[in-house]
């Protein structure tokens, strides 16, 4: 009994901190509709700032607290609202998730750069009042923890007063319901938004300062994950209700402590040892089951700027051929290590393809793509290696791949079920929670878990030695342990799957998926069972994620159990895929290339420069090199805000006009091939080849447009002018007539658009 009470006290202490963290999230969500994933990063950087003020510069505790929680954190919140969140208002759910991810990575990158760029130093935050503690029921309870409880209660009370008794609070609540109406009634929704972001960020900062000392030495991503643990409480409160969030946070804290008590800090059930770390994720699923059905929303995308055009099958096949040929040519030029980078990129592109279907076409969210890779790996392993096999000699079979895809589909279906009737964000959270659970309970599992199905022995945990060698295929007499061969195999697979996806997109099924994304409400009124369709798409996408993930694992050849399975890698992949242009196959390709080549090769360039010029090492490596790690994600977020359709769209728009000068384009393409040949033979250097090709990408379109101006009249003027001013600001041109006809929807003179797609 004494123990029970003692653990209850501990549970309340932990729950209090969770409550503060979760409430901050709820406050910002309820006034902006943005699930601010970066909330955890705000907590982390606030903890660092507090440490800097208190222990670095030795300010007094009260002053440091005020500066951190009442000045710095709210300032960050206001900055985020003004610069980032405000622009998210009319965007899709996906964009509203991706940009906070970018912000998260940017803030964490910034924090790494400011405090950790010179390598491992130990930042050890101290608790309030140091190690002083009370003895409560035989348990040491730190003053720090007691303060946490007190602050939680103060937060609860303060928020109640704010939201229900103050003008600002009423305005905040009104902003949720109907912004325009509020403005018409003299309210200031913008000010209310700023207020709520300031408060939300302040609470995040407070949570960070309270949580940080419990970790020992501060690790940025680990602390962020600790804050994530509080999110199930917010979900339980439907991201709106502060009281329920509080209750949920207490439940969370108590459950964790009780589990520790009952399992003796995890000792009792060895196989479930990591369950304690998976408890928040499990409770998230439970919360999802109890949430009421979401309202069918109407079209949001109609009012956004996201646009995806679709290639014809012929175009797709042609581009596929070009890709295979280009890849073959490119890898012939490259050295071994560069081929590895390229192959890594191709594997990531394969994983991103699953997101083209799920997120690009259906508008749903999967934040655990790497986890499906892990699931696929476990299944394929059983079939191809088995408990007694030797991974380094085994080869990946088609049967294993198909079985892995099947299992991934089933697993995907199971995860999605609780979240299907809810809005897309919850599905994303469910996948993230799933990722955490698999990571903790399966991948980090070191106790052997064996069983048998139909007489077949199988092993759940694979990473018993901390690392795992993954078999590669051996097909058509080719041993794909050869890196270049495997690269080409993955390229071919990418093209085939890409073609299949284009085929889906152009089919009735594809149209239905797109329709479901564009307006679920309309689809329901057409008799579509949206949940079934969503389930089907999610299962198919999971199967693809498993396939891509298996190829990725095989590409890595040897995996460590902490290699990308912890959740952040999936977030990054999702973000880059969306930025690349998730509605396009080429967007997936760009994502993979970007992640691999740019984020690996660019830092390598800086490292090489820093090594070659040691006196400038600081500048190259710690300066620019690390700087790009956070500027990168930040720029990505901003870019996506400006063009939600992604990069692929813009690249293709840049190239589209070239179709009108087929001869010129053909000549250019042939010259590239010739140059490649010369480079391959060594007649010209690789550098030269790269520079010339890229330079031509700039120059040739301009040249062609200059040489044949009459073919590009409409492009030259398109999108830049108000139709009302045609004839006034400049003289009429022939193509203007067609444009007017289009604008006015006049029949007869209308000609199809020059790049008609179906």
């Amino acid at each position: 009994m004494q123990d029970f009470l003692a653990y209850t006290v501990l549970g309340i202490c932990l729950g209090s901190v969770y409550a503060i963290a979760a409430t901050g999230l709820v406050v910002t969500y309820s006034t902006s509709g943005v699930f601010n994933v970066a909330h955890g990063a705000v907590a982390t950087i606030s903890a660092l700032v507090y440490w800097q003020l208190r222990q670095g510069w030795h300010l007094s505790t009260p002053l440091a607290i005020v500066l951190t929680i009442c000045v710095f954190a709210p300032a960050v919140g206001i900055f985020l609202e003004l610069v980032v969140m405000r622009g998210l208002r009319d965007t899709s759910e996906v964009t509203r998730l991706v940009i906070p991810i970018a912000v998260l990575l940017a803030i964490n990158g910034l924090a790494t750069w400011v405090w950790f760029r010179d390598g491992s130093r130990a930042i050890v935050p101290k608790k309030f009042f140091g190690e002083q503690h009370l003895q409560v029921l035989g348990q040491a309870v730190y003053y720090h923890q007691v303060i946490g409880v007190g602050l939680a209660m103060a937060t609860a009370g303060g928020l109640y007063v704010l939201l229900y008794r103050s003008r600002l609070g009423v305005t905040m609540r009104a902003t949720v319901d109907d912004r325009r109406l509020l403005m018409l009634n003299g309210g200031r929704p913008d000010r209310a938004s700023l207020g709520s972001w300031a408060i939300g960020a302040g609470l995040a900062g407070l949570a960070g300062v309270l949580l940080a000392p419990q970790q020992g030495a501060l690790q940025i991503f680990a602390l962020t994950l600790l804050v994530f643990d509080a999110y199930p409480a917010a979900v339980g409160g439907r991201l709106r209700s502060v009281p329920i969030t509080f209750v949920g946070a207490m439940v969370l804290g108590l459950t964790r402590q009780y589990f520790d008590w009952v399992s003796h800090a995890g000792q009792s059930w060895l196989a479930l040892r990591n369950l304690r770390n998976a408890i928040p994720a499990i409770l998230l699923f439970a919360a999802l089951l109890f949430l009421p059905q979401g309202r069918l929303r109407g079209a949001v995308v109609a009012r956004t700027r996201e646009r995806f055009t679709v290639p014809t099958m012929k175009q797709a096949v042609a581009w596929g051929g070009v890709l295979i040929a280009a890849m073959a040519m490119l890898q012939a030029l490259m050295k071994g290590a560069a081929v590895i980078s390229l192959a890594n990129g191709m594997a990531l592109s394969l994983m991103a393809l699953s997101l083209v279907l799920l997120t690009g076409y259906a508008g749903e969210i999967n934040l655990a793509v790497y986890t499906f890779a892990g699931v696929a790996l476990i299944v394929a392993w059983q079939l191809d290696v088995g408990p007694t096999g030797l991974a380094t000699r085994a080869s990946l079979s088609v049967t294993a791949i198909l079985a892995a895809m099947l299992v991934c589909a089933v697993v995907g279906g199971l995860i999605a079920l609780p979240a299907l009737r809810l809005r897309g964000l919850y599905l994303g959270l469910a996948t993230f929670a799933f990722g955490t659970i698999v990571y903790q309970l399966v991948i980090l599992q070191t106790k052997p878990l064996r069983g048998s199905i139909f007489g077949h022995q199988f092993t759940i945990n694979l990473f018993t030695t901390g690392s795992l060698t993954v078999p590669r295929p051996h097909w058509f007499g080719i041993d794909f342990r050869d890196q270049r061969a495997f690269l080409m195999l993955m390229t071919v697979m990418f093209v085939l799957i890409g073609l299949a996806l284009v085929g889906i997109r152009r089919s009735a099924y594809g149209r239905m998926i797109i329709a479901m994304k564009d307006s679920p409400a309309a689809c329901a009124t057409l008799g579509l069972n949206i949940m079934r369709l969503k389930l089907g798409v999610f299962m198919l996408s999971s199967a693809l994620a498993g396939l891509g993930g298996l190829m990725w694992a095989a590409q890595q050849r040897t995996l460590a159990n902490n290699n990308n399975f912890d959740g952040f890698a999936s977030l990054l992949l999702f973000m880059i895929a969306v930025v690349g242009g998730i509605g396009y196959i080429s967007g997936a390709l760009l994502a993979g290339i970007f992640l691999s080549v740019l984020s690996v090769v660019m830092p390598n360039i800086f490292i090489k420069l820093g090594s070659d010029y040691p006196s400038l090492h600081w500048f190259f490596v710690t300066g620019i090199g690390n700087f790009t790690k956070f500027v990168g994600p930040a720029l990505i977020g901003i870019r996506l805000g400006k063009n939600p359709s992604g990069i692929a769209q813009q690249v293709m728009d840049g190239f589209r006009p070239l179709k009108r000068v087929p001869l010129g384009t053909a000549a250019w393409a042939s010259s590239i091939v010739v140059l490649w040949f010369l480079s391959w033979r060594g007649a010209i250097g690789h550098w030269t080849f790269a520079l010339v090709v890229i330079g031509s990408v700039f120059i040739v379109p301009r040249v062609l447009m200059g040489m044949f101006p009459e073919r590009f009249e409409d492009v030259a003027n398109a999108g830049q002018e108000d139709p009302d001013l045609i004839g006034l600001a400049r003289p009429f041109q022939r193509h203007d007539r067609d444009r007017f006809d289009r604008e006015l929807a006049l029949p007869g003179h209308d000609r199809s658009r020059s790049d008609a797609t179906s």
Partner: protein
């Protein structure tokens, strides 16, 4: 907007393709690859570093680089003396520059180097070697960079002395960034390196297939996986085989704490590497009188929000000593603080990875005052009494960089390789160097650490124990500085661990796991 962002994208693509096209050919041109200094004949009438006895203190090691290069004996004087480690009675022969208790294995050689063109990375006047660390890993920037600091300094010194028999060492650096080991190894292979020397890549199981495929031999700073520790053509200054473990610590602790060591609780980070270490301890400890009260406690390596349950569990088990597998920061510090707050005050036995400046610096409140650390290297506190340690510190002080035990370990591996290479004389081949390495059965890194057997891949049978008090590490046993207690019985065999099983050792204890088959 269209044009502008198109340009941005194109610019980004430019950089990507350039980077891809030029591959990852990295040459860290060290400042002293210029061979001029080494070859210049200097009259031997400058200040002579008088002492040549190995046991003497700093002077020879430190004086050599910044005094006149009398030690780089001109090719036309006293030629045959460059290789001989023992001092000749001839007073006209200048004494050899020392590192620790033995001379530098570097010098101008006989000028008769041959090169049949078949040996990778070797010419008549140069050797290309590869090294690296995980410094670029985003999660822990600068990881293991002390290795490279040491390697660069050593190579610079060696080249100043003439290189390996007059062959200048070109040091190529590759950053594995923890998870990019295959790319680093592939680059090392592609760049035609002679040997891999002193590299420290944590995820080394991921490299073996490539390394074996290109036949690159290695003398690394450390190994993590069993496959690499038992890799073909791999030798280490301080071997770390998977089928044997150094067990002096058990005996020493049992002697220091005869009662407490019969009730040990293990506390391990939930990573297989640490879990494997724990399993080894649990299986070997009893042979030296250890008894275990609790062997299953595992903690979250990412961070525990609350260590109290663990403290409770240890208390309840009746343990009187704790054996910790993990790292000093963040886990151990916080655990120790929680333990102290809850009235748990037990000695904690840890491995040598807890001998770091950061760990000592973090012990501001004395929570870590119970730490007992196994050491097979001479601690820096004993540097004034141990020439090798002092030479290492001076080396880094001179060339810049950071000091850590990892750097000392890198030094040992470099000297091991350099000694073996130097002994090959004019005709330098991989076969010859590997043979010399295989024949080295007694190695102390010129006095940096306890004696090991690199040639037969045996860990040290010697051990010492340090104790952390406040911010300093104090010696516990043996009491004489820069010494170790040794015993043949202190190497214990290990069998049946998952890592060993996976490594597939053949009868020569060489791993076949990644051998092409």
């Amino acid at each position: 907007m269209d044009q502008k962002s198109f340009r941005v994208v194109a610019a980004v693509a430019v950089l990507a393709l350039i980077a891809a096209a030029c591959g990852s050919d990295r040459t860290a041109a060290t400042p002293s690859t210029v061979p001029a200094a080494a070859a210049a004949p200097i009259a031997p009438d400058a200040t002579t570093p008088a002492e040549t006895t190995p046991v003497d203190t700093a002077a020879p090691g430190t004086a050599t680089p910044d005094t006149t290069p009398t030690d780089t004996a001109a090719p036309d004087t006293a030629a045959p003396d460059t290789v001989a480690p023992d001092t000749t009675p001839e007073s006209t022969v200048p004494p050899l520059p020392m590192f620790g208790d033995a001379p530098w294995p570097c010098g101008p050689g006989g000028g008769d180097n041959t090169d049949d063109g078949n040996e990778v990375g070797v010419t008549t006047d140069s050797i290309s070697i590869a090294t690296g660390d995980d410094a670029g890993y985003a999660g822990s920037p600068g990881l293991s960079h002390e290795i490279t600091d040491a390697m660069k300094a050593l190579v610079a010194e060696c080249n100043d002395l003439g290189g390996i028999n007059g062959r200048t060492i070109n040091l190529n650096y590759y950053d594995a960034k923890l998870f990019e080991t295959p790319a680093a190894m592939q680059s090392a292979c592609d760049a035609s390196n002679f040997f891999l020397v002193g590299e420290g890549w944590a995820f080394d199981s991921n490299q073996e297939e490539i390394r074996l495929g290109c036949g690159l031999p290695a003398v690394p700073t450390y190994s993590v996986s069993a496959a690499f520790a038992h890799g073909a053509n791999v030798y280490q200054g301080v071997p770390n085989p998977a089928d044997e473990t150094t067990s002096g610590i058990f005996a020493q602790i049992a002697k220091l704490f005869p009662e407490a060591s019969k009730h040990v609780a293990t506390l391990t980070g939930a990573f297989s590497a640490t879990q494997e270490t724990r399993d080894k301890i649990v299986s070997v400890g009893p042979k030296f009188g250890w008894g275990f009260a609790e062997t299953t406690l595992e903690s979250n390596p990412v961070g525990e929000a609350d260590w109290t349950p663990f403290v409770k569990q240890i208390k309840d088990s009746g343990a009187e000593m704790i054996s910790w597998q993990g790292s000093c920061l963040p886990g151990l510090l916080l655990f120790a603080q929680t333990a102290k707050a809850n009235g748990l005050d037990l000695p904690i036995v840890v491995d040598s990875n807890h001998y770091t400046a950061q760990c000592a610096a973090a012990n501001t409140d004395g929570a870590l005052d119970n730490l007992y650390i196994r050491m097979s290297f001479v601690p820096f506190e004993d540097a004034s009494l141990n020439p090798a340690t002092q030479d290492y510190l001076d080396l880094i002080a001179k060339h810049g960089g950071d000091v850590a035990m990892l750097g000392a370990q890198a030094t040992s591996s470099f000297l091991l390789w350099a000694t073996a290479a130097s002994a090959c004389g004019a005709e330098l081949t991989r076969t010859c160097v590997l043979q010399n390495l295989a024949d080295t059965h007694s190695w102390t890194g010129h006095g940096l650490h306890a004696e090991t057997d690199p040639g037969s891949n045996h860990p040290p049978k010697c051990s010492s124990v340090l104790h952390l008090v406040g911010g300093t590490y104090e010696r516990v046993v043996p009491t004489a500085p820069a010494t170790f207690e040794c015993d043949d019985a202190w190497i214990s065999p290990i069998t049946g661990t998952p890592a060993l099983t996976a490594a597939l050792l053949d009868e020569n204890r060489i791993s076949q796991q990644f051998a092409a088959g």
